[in-house]
């Protein structure tokens, strides 16, 4: 529409790069889109800062946010929106990708370290021994399938543990395996063991 009006006055061919002082500068849709994108990137940077806030590097990420915002504000005030977009593509996008990935990987590693505090995925922590004893004492294993059954008790105890990712394993037979399907918690089977996560 703007283009059409401009073309009526023969203004369409004028170089838009040359900004003459006092001339009204109309923003076309592309520029509006660039500014929106730029705002989104600033928001993403702010989020990144929030996730780094508690770390040693929080202050530096904050600096990056502030300096990027400064550039953003300056370029917009000078109507140099296209340059702003190029700046973001070359810098901000890569920065966000890299440092978001770094902290994501860091969190994932921490979770794994939490799941296996001793680095050794030993499948018999204290609780597991208890469960194991309970099961093997009742030889031959007779487990009631219903919610009042022994298996249900075991499952409840496993469920109520503090640590979420602890691994418990104990021997099972086909009957128990079948009964497990009646309970609603995640359990994995290998050939002779049930492993409750």
């Amino acid at each position: 529409m703007i283009k059409f009006v401009r073309s009526l006055f023969g203004l369409n061919g004028s170089s838009s790069k040359r900004a003459v002082a006092g001339a009204s500068i109309s923003m076309d849709l592309q520029e509006v889109a660039y500014i929106n994108d730029s705002n989104h990137r600033l928001a993403a940077l702010l989020n990144l800062y929030k996730s780094y806030k508690e770390t040693l590097h929080g202050d530096k990420i904050k600096k990056v946010y502030e300096k990027t915002k400064q550039i953003h504000d300056y370029l917009i005030s000078k109507k140099r929106v296209h340059e702003l977009e190029i700046f973001h593509i070359r810098n901000t996008d890569n920065f966000i990708n890299t440092f978001a990935l770094i902290i994501e990987v860091h969190h994932r590693h921490k979770q794994i370290a939490f799941a296996y505090p001793d680095k050794e995925p030993e499948v018999t922590p204290v609780h597991a021994l208890e469960v194991h004893a309970t099961v093997s004492k009742t030889e031959p294993i007779h487990v009631n399938a219903g919610p009042q059954g022994e298996l249900f008790d075991i499952a409840q105890r496993v469920k109520n543990r503090n640590k979420l990712f602890e691994v418990v394993s104990f021997p099972i037979d086909r009957q128990i395996r079948h009964n497990f399907f009646l309970l609603d918690f995640p359990v994995h089977f290998n050939r002779k063991h049930a492993v409750i996560m």
């Binding site: 530096k60 550039i71 700046f87 890299t98």
Partner: protein, 58 residues
């Protein structure tokens, strides 16, 4: 890349020494960019002034 200044990061640090150094470089890079942008603004003003001068002198 000189990372010697950053070697005292604790072991539970999220960034390793190299990544921390990159972060510093990035901040520096933003400063440089901002300076360049401001400088180019000045240059553009000079060019426009010259342009006008030439129009007037012909």
């Amino acid at each position: 890349m000189d990372t010697s200044v950053h070697k005292n990061l604790p072991p539970d640090s999220v960034l390793n020494a190299e990544q921390d150094a990159i972060l510093d470089l990035y901040i520096e890079n933003l400063d440089n960019f901002f300076e360049e942008v401001k400088q180019s603004e000045k240059t553009q003003v000079e060019i426009e002034t010259l342009h006008l001068k030439r129009i007037l002198s012909t």
